[in-house]
């Protein structure tokens, strides 16, 4: 299928990426190339086949409702690009 630059814009918005104008055209082309290739799957008759989201037959992996100590806040915050004494700091978010 054709991948337009508008579609690239929409996908970029969803994935929080921004491409320069030249790159948009190039990306549209590359995505189209890959997507056309993967459409090869249409030749496979998958009627009635359950999609496989887990390759193992595992189920019911559960843990008991017990509290364990949390991570020391300093260890959590020390990796943050911007922080204050207690929290992560981000640009102002208007709701």
């Amino acid at each position: 299928m054709k991948i337009t630059e508008e579609m690239v814009d929409y996908i970029s918005e969803l994935s929080r990426l921004e491409l320069g104008s030249e790159d948009r055209a190039r990306m549209a082309g590359e995505l189209e190339s890959v997507i056309n290739y993967v459409e090869l799957l249409n030749a496979l008759d998958t009627a009635g086949i359950e999609p496989m989201s887990h390759v193992l037959q595992v189920k019911n992996v559960l843990r008991p409702d017990e509290v364990q100590p949390s991570l020391d806040r300093e260890l959590l915050l020390k990796e943050a690009p911007e922080r204050d004494a207690e929290s992560f700091v981000v640009p102002k978010t208007v709701e």
Binding site: H54, V61, D65, S70, L71, P91, K92
Partner: protein, 476 residues
Amino acid sequence: MNWETVIGLEVHVELSTKSKIFCSCITAFGGDPNTHCCPVCTGMPGTLPVLNHQVVTYAMKAGIALNCDITRYTKFDRKNYFYPDLPKAYQVSQLYLPICVNGSVPIETAAGHKDIRIHEIHMEEDAGKLIHDAWADATKTDYNRCGVPLIEIVSEPDFRSAEEVLAYLEKLKSTLEYLDVSDCKMQEGSMRADINLSVREAGTSEMGTRTEMKNMNSFKAIGRAIEYEAKRQIEVIAEGGRVIQETRRWDENKDASFAMRSKENAQDYRYFPEPDLPPVEIDDLWFNQVKASLPEMAEQKRARYVADYALPEYDAGMITGQKALADFFEETVAGGSAPKEVANWIMGDLLRILKDKGIEARDMAMTPARLGRIIALIDEGKLNRNKGREVFEALFDSDADIDAYVKEHDLIQISDEGAIATSIAEILAENQKTVDEYKSGKTKVFGFLVGQTMKALKGKADPSVINAILKELLDS
């Protein structure tokens, strides 16, 4: 034109498990920012979720109590979107196979009985909180709440009024409290309702464009928000405009709702099955264990109170409406007090005092033992009813010894006929005119004479003795 309001509700309820849904951090409300967190709930790279058994059990309990079918093979899905309170930029939720489907909640309003249908109930994880710092013109994130387990209860658009919505929410709250799966405190955010509202011409079946409202912190605010939004939409349409599908934020102070910036508008969440969590298969054993573990619910209690104690339906309904009241009632009765007596106390003074103080039954200091003692003192003739009520109110928040208090304040009932007769004689002597009125046929004044006698006896006398002696003296 006659308008009809059509409402659907999405109620988020925080489950009162000890630890979070996918990690072992504590779920307690409050706490210093970012002190109830770990690499898993803050979405650090390489971390993985592990499902809390109790969350599934609590969700099943809620589903069974709300008359749902339990989905025996249930899975999690990722809901993808960017927002600073969501550290992984996806929320683990359930779309394709939610744990409960097709339930119903019976409600009573002025218009009568109605069953509100539940579309589905699913498990998901809560997000964190944003803290807005006006000084620094920045926003801060607190991830304590990330990973607190939620169930989302999605209703069909069956509501037609704010009254119905509030009755439903009361019912949900009561049911979940009975199950002890959540403390349902709207003011703490452990119960939140999103309102989907549209309007249409009465009698038509096509749905109008709906808006979604969030951020109502009390039942009262919900009622106000519904009325406001219905009115707003009707005005928009009446003026020839179209309602825009959007998310609106309720502002308590302004008593109005405002369109939010498009975080939610037309979002593509790209749901797909969560690869890090295997499915959950609920076998008959597990299901039956959970079903058997359900406590006696409100409806059963109500029927039992009516049958066993001959309580009026209305009273039984009020008392069983809140688990704390029902528990209080049952414990007081278990302590030896007569059921009808206890019911009267609850329906009368107790509920009134709670309302005046603005507190809920589950938070009150008054105990079954203490009410039981007051009732016993009245039964023994040591307190008259009015004084008993005074004591009840005075000591409502205290743990002071009741007998000591009664003695200290000289409240013990006077039943001595001699003393009462003396008092009556004095009152009659002071009120010859009234006595004459009584004897000339104006029997109404009897009450005045009783009142005066009681006053003279500082309110402590046994009113039945006063009545008996006074009548005897006057009629003689």
